[in-house]
Symmetry: C2
Subunit: 289 residues, 2 copies
Amino acid sequence: MKLDKQTKILIIGLGVIGGSYAKALTDKGYNVSCITKEDSDIKYALKNKMISYGTTEIEDELIADSELIIFALYPTTFIEWIKKNQHLFSPGTLITDVTGIKSSVVYEVQSILRDDVEYIAAHPMAGRERSGVEFADPSVFEGANYIVTPTDKNTKEAIRICKKLGDELGFLRISELTPEAHDEMIAFLSQLTHCIAVVLMNCNDSEGLEKYTGDSFRDLTRIAKINDRMWSELFLMNKDALLTEMDRFIEEFTEFRTYLANGDGKRMREKMRSSTARRSLFDKPIIKS
Amino acid sequence: MKLDKQTKILIIGLGVIGGSYAKALTDKGYNVSCITKEDSDIKYALKNKMISYGTTEIEDELIADSELIIFALYPTTFIEWIKKNQHLFSPGTLITDVTGIKSSVVYEVQSILRDDVEYIAAHPMAGRERSGVEFADPSVFEGANYIVTPTDKNTKEAIRICKKLGDELGFLRISELTPEAHDEMIAFLSQLTHCIAVVLMNCNDSEGLEKYTGDSFRDLTRIAKINDRMWSELFLMNKDALLTEMDRFIEEFTEFRTYLANGDGKRMREKMRSSTARRSLFDKPIIKS
């Protein structure tokens, strides 16, 4: 298959990410249909020119007619959907996803998937702390990272198309990782940070603190507003990698605590100078428009 | 004394906060002088219309002539300055500060200060992750919190003037706390968050992670770019309160880790729903201009 303006694209699951994909692709002139649970979400998407067609039914013909199918579901729902409905795909269909963990999804789906359909996994590293199609906004992809996680089962052609999709969606940096390397990376960069935000928001329940807060606390807890179903699934499906990162964090935190307890300003300052230097690498690229 | 456009204001220490005070007050029509270490900072401040006069010398006459003196120095430097130079104040001078911890500064300064000079402590809860007058920007005060921390030694009149100063600087919410309550609050909202950011930035030194990062990690580590001298002083001067908050955080973090290790999605989701609800309280007020 090819990815061009004639490609028939189907998005399954019209939440905040599925909706942002739909809007970005429709804005670029692609033809996007969707299947999702709520009729109200389809109405919203049609009204806001995000899709050309939407349904809450598993429509055999729509699925058979689609050349590129993008799954934007919770990980477990995605796997169940494939098991139940993969007989409806036409031979040669390319499927991809937006799932935030890879090993436990990619290998399972590839192992159960029909031989004449290819699944190439990808993770758009952008989101919002709210869920639902009404928060969909493709501008979150600008300047963001898009990661393709191929396995031995993937063709070069599918990898190329998947990268092109990331480019069309507006991502700045498109890269390739193994599912395992992706999951280790994500355990640290994304899952550990969400754990920290949730824990920080729960560890002191004094009243009225919001009256005194500065931006530091706001920044560290922005993602404490969290989709509990999705994130608990992601954590559990990447448990070992996340536990490893949590343990590293506790170890480093405990070391810093010891410096403070010992009044060891010199070592605290060394850690601060190191964090200052390392953080510079992570500054967001400035987008020239 | 009164705080009006005729009041002679002196700022001691023209860094990012001292500079932001200077610019905010000058923009409002106040007459602001400064004493600071570097001649280049004075040149910058004069060129950018932040002050009407500046010097690197301890000028007896300038100090004697000033009615409101704002100290924007590192905490230990502030205390040393008072010891060394307080004989230069005129009777009736009001002094205030911007120091990020209170108990260990306020009681010491008040105990050594001349009886005919009053020190009313305040903490502007706004800053930038860069230091130096060239990063001064009074717009960081908009929507931010300003906390006055009076003691038994303070007069109502001084508290009133200090609050008016916060208002003139552009702060949204001006409140009052005891030094002890302030330090407990700050240990959690500000110091613990800075510890976490520094630790997070140091706990995984895998190379190339910046290629894959999303905004969550960027948000949680923005303040990992840190002025190591100032923050290590602040941490050490508020050690007990900060250790208490670090221990609460470790306890909650370890509990969450146990849920994950046990595959206990239900309890993880409870914590996430709690963090989502609590975080809403901390949303920044929307400023209507």
